[in-house]
């Protein structure tokens, strides 16, 4: 009985994943078509390009209680819009900085490149991120 209770209380993080329409969203679809299983903690938001992601979207996500945020885009050189992923990568450094200032562990934010052919990589990324965020515990802004 005691054990059961403990298990029920296991922290289940909420993780947001921003996926670009052309590569990583298609990679996420391929994970589905290939039936690669992964934890249910991720909610995908589709955007046309990772370059669309205004840093405030990510900071807002943490403010509203996201335990982790994944930004995924096309591999360097493969961006459907030529260099949107590079623009995102530039913002990434700034975002990590801003997160530390706000007292959120920068490790809660990840930037990964996933192609339309990498369903297995997408599934592995979700498994790995969920595990890591579980180990980190809830977003400190939530408990503060």
């Amino acid at each position: 009985m005691e054990e059961l209770k403990l298990e029920q209380k296991e922290f289940e993080p909420t993780i947001l994943a921003f996926c670009c329409n052309w590569c990583s969203y298609a990679g996420a679809d391929l994970a589905g078509t290939s039936r690669f299983e992964y934890p249910t903690n991720v909610r995908v938001i589709r955007v046309m390009c990772s370059g669309r992601l205004d840093p405030t979207f990510i900071l807002s996500a943490f403010r509203w209680g996201a335990d982790g945020v994944l930004i995924t885009g096309c591999h360097p050189g493969d961006c459907h819009y030529v260099q949107g992923n590079y623009m995102m990568e530039r913002r990434f450094g700034f975002l990590k900085e801003a997160m530390s200032q706000l007292g959120i562990e920068p490790e809660r934010l990840r930037l990964e490149w996933i192609s339309a052919g990498e369903g297995e990589k997408f599934a592995a990324l979700i498994r790995d991120t969920t595990q890591k965020i579980k180990e980190m515990g809830p977003n400190p802004l939530k408990t503060a």
């Binding site: 052309w22 679809d29 046309m48 360097p76 192609s115």
Partner: protein, 592 residues
């Protein structure tokens, strides 16, 4: 938001058991009805069926819905269908939204049914939040140039070029080699009809030459490609210089190469008598055999169905660029073999075995195999080989056959018979290796220029393996032949004609509506700093009198300018800050 109060209709699909077998659909419907602005919710067995679509249309009218959500599969395949359904019912299709509860929920969480149901509810809530902010949009119209570029002058490219020319379109056909014909030039005859290749090649080449619609350029490759559907600007590298052309569509028919084993694999490149099937074919074609061999041993799946290099291995180098990355994979694959079944090698080996038998009836032909895959009518072809006394021996693949040379210069193959488990020794004159069709190395660069993803097998990837087999995810670019994976001649011709039909359909319409995902500048907020102009790779922004303007026809809708604008003066149609943030918020909180 439009003036009108949002009235959202939610249609939740069982997709047979695909979703319904994992997600508790009735519970999600019940939940959807409790969400703000939701006026109607129902479940469908298949929302994409005629009945499902009719119900959407009916309820748009009956319930006065001004937003429609379908929670089902991925928008990448079914959004166009549902959008057109909305349009038919008089609802602007930008007021439609999808929640992906199949590819990104039921299919990946099939052992976590309760949690999958909770996730599906969240995904529906996120879609409803976004839908509330959706606005109707007008789509800009693009002119489609009625000229096509076909890359590759093999049987795939020639077939596609002829088909397009017959439809009345001007075609540029480019071939990197100095002559047309591709891989077929090196083959003598084709299975299962044993037709000579020139019977297929000559008429095609002649038709190409006599067509006034086709401009053929040999020894020519693509140096650069820019633009978008209907308006591609391609720079060709010809032997003399560079040439710029403008085309409406592109058919990629760059074919495949034949895997050459590394020196030493089965003594290839060491002993003279060890050859690939391609080399045997060439030898038979040119009649370069003076003495009948006593025995020929063929080994199947050399360098195929080996190697486990899959997408996973890309994880090791996430930041390297694709070309470098793929060259590493290509190299790794070269040593380890290619993971897939090349699908033509069994028939090809049978064909060559029969050709050897035809030429030298007394020669003993043995095929060492792990599996024989002869589908459909090729089963008869296999029987034909059995009748001709071709011997099929299943060997233990895990123990690769060993090839040695006897003192008299003959070869010997030592393998293990899978049925008896016994070692077998086969003295022979030739050892023929059946090697797979593999992607061309240059294909990687081409894929990059044209923004075509590469599959885990290294070939160009189609937009959808079942639903859009010759489309790529870039509008206006199509795949023909073995560029997308091993194919024999009939399959190549089918795909080439399909690609030509798809390209032709686009060009015949002359105009195409593109998505209204363009940027809009708020002139009040803009300070004319010009950052958007600086970063836009399409030249879609220009600053005039201290205010930035968007050229909608050039804007491709990536949204980088909206993210970079220091004044937040740029908004993206259909992907506005509010629309994205509403989804973020709905994912994390119950309020919206």
């Amino acid at each position: 938001m439009t003036e009108e109060e949002p009235k959202v209709g939610v249609f939740i699909c069982h997709c047979g058991v695909n979703i319904g077998g994992v997600v508790n659909v009735p519970e999600v419907v019940k939940y959807a009805k409790t969400l703000p602005n939701v006026a109607y919710a129902e479940a469908n067995i298949y929302t994409c069926s005629e009945a499902g679509l009719a119900s959407i249309k009916e309820n748009i009218k009956k319930q006065g819905l001004n937003r429609v959500i379908v929670a089902s599969c991925t928008p990448r395949t079914h959004e166009p269908l549902f959008r057109s359904t909305c349009r038919e019912a008089g609802l602007n299709h930008y007021l439609f939204e999808m929640a992906n509860i199949r590819e990104q929920c039921s299919w990946v969480h099939k052992h976590q049914m309760e949690r999958a149901t909770e996730k599906a509810k969240d995904l529906v809530r996120m879609a409803v939040a976004r839908a509330t902010w959706l606005e109707p949009q007008e789509e800009p119209e693009l002119d489609i140039k009625d000229t096509s570029l076909v890359i590759g002058g093999g049987i795939a490219g020639m077939t596609a070029a002829l088909s397009l020319a017959n439809q009345g379109f001007k075609v540029y056909l480019i071939e990197k080699e100095p002559e047309l014909g591709g891989n077929l030039r090196n083959l003598s005859r084709l299975y299962p009809t044993m037709q000579e290749t020139h019977e297929i090649l000559d008429p095609a080449i002649n038709a190409i030459k006599s067509s006034d619609k086709i401009e053929t350029m040999l020894s020519t490759t693509v140096a650069d490609a820019k633009g978008y559907v209907g308006n591609f600007k391609v720079t060709l590298a010809t032997p003399q210089d560079k040439k710029d052309i403008e085309v409406g569509t592109i058919v990629v028919a760059c074919g495949a190469a034949n895997y050459t084993p590394p020196k030493g694999l089965y003594q290839y490149g060491v002993f003279q008598g060890v050859l690939t099937q391609m080399q045997l074919d060439e030898m038979l074609k040119h009649g370069k055999v003076d003495k009948a061999p006593e025995r020929v041993v063929m080994i199947q799946c050399v360098g195929a169905r080996k190697g486990e290099i899959r997408a996973m291995d890309l994880a090791g180098f996430p930041k390297s660029d694709t070309a470098r990355l793929l060259s590493k994979i290509l190299k790794a694959k070269k040593e380890e073999g290619w993971p897939y079944c090349s699908k033509i090698c069994c028939m090809n080996a049978i064909k060559n075995a029969l050709l050897v038998k035809e030429k030298f009836p007394k020669t003993d032909v043995m095929i060492l195999y792990g599996d024989v895959r002869v589908y459909k009518e090729y089963e008869d072809f296999y029987s034909q080989a059995r009748e001709a006394q071709v011997k099929f021996v299943k060997h233990i693949e895990e123990v690769p056959p060993e090839i040695t040379q006897t003192p008299d210069g003959k070869l010997a193959v030592m393998a293990y018979d899978a049925l008896s488990g016994q070692e077998i020794n086969l003295p022979c004159d030739w050892v023929i290796l059946s090697t797979p069709m593999i992607p061309h190395k240059e294909e990687v660069l081409l894929a990059r220029m044209l923004k075509i993803p590469i599959s885990s097998d290294g070939f160009l990837m189609e937009a959808h393996v079942k639903l859009r087999p010759v489309d790529t995810q870039t509008d206006g670019i199509f795949l023909a032949g073995a560029a997308s994976g091993p194919k024999d001649v009939p399959e190549t011709i089918v795909s080439a004609k399909a690609a030509a039909a798809r390209a032709g359909t686009l060009m015949a319409n002359k105009k195409m509506r593109t998505e209204a995902l363009t940027s809009v500048v708020d002139e009040e907020q803009c300070i004319g700093c010009g950052l958007c102009e600086e970063i836009c790779v399409y030249g879609a922004h220009y600053v005039e009198e201290n205010v930035s303007h968007t050229i909608a026809a050039l804007c491709r809708g990536c949204g980088a300018c909206a993210a970079e604008c220091p004044r937040r003066a740029i908004s993206m149609q259909h992907y506005s800050d509010e629309q994205i943030l509403s989804q973020v918020k709905a994912a994390l909180t119950e309020e919206s």
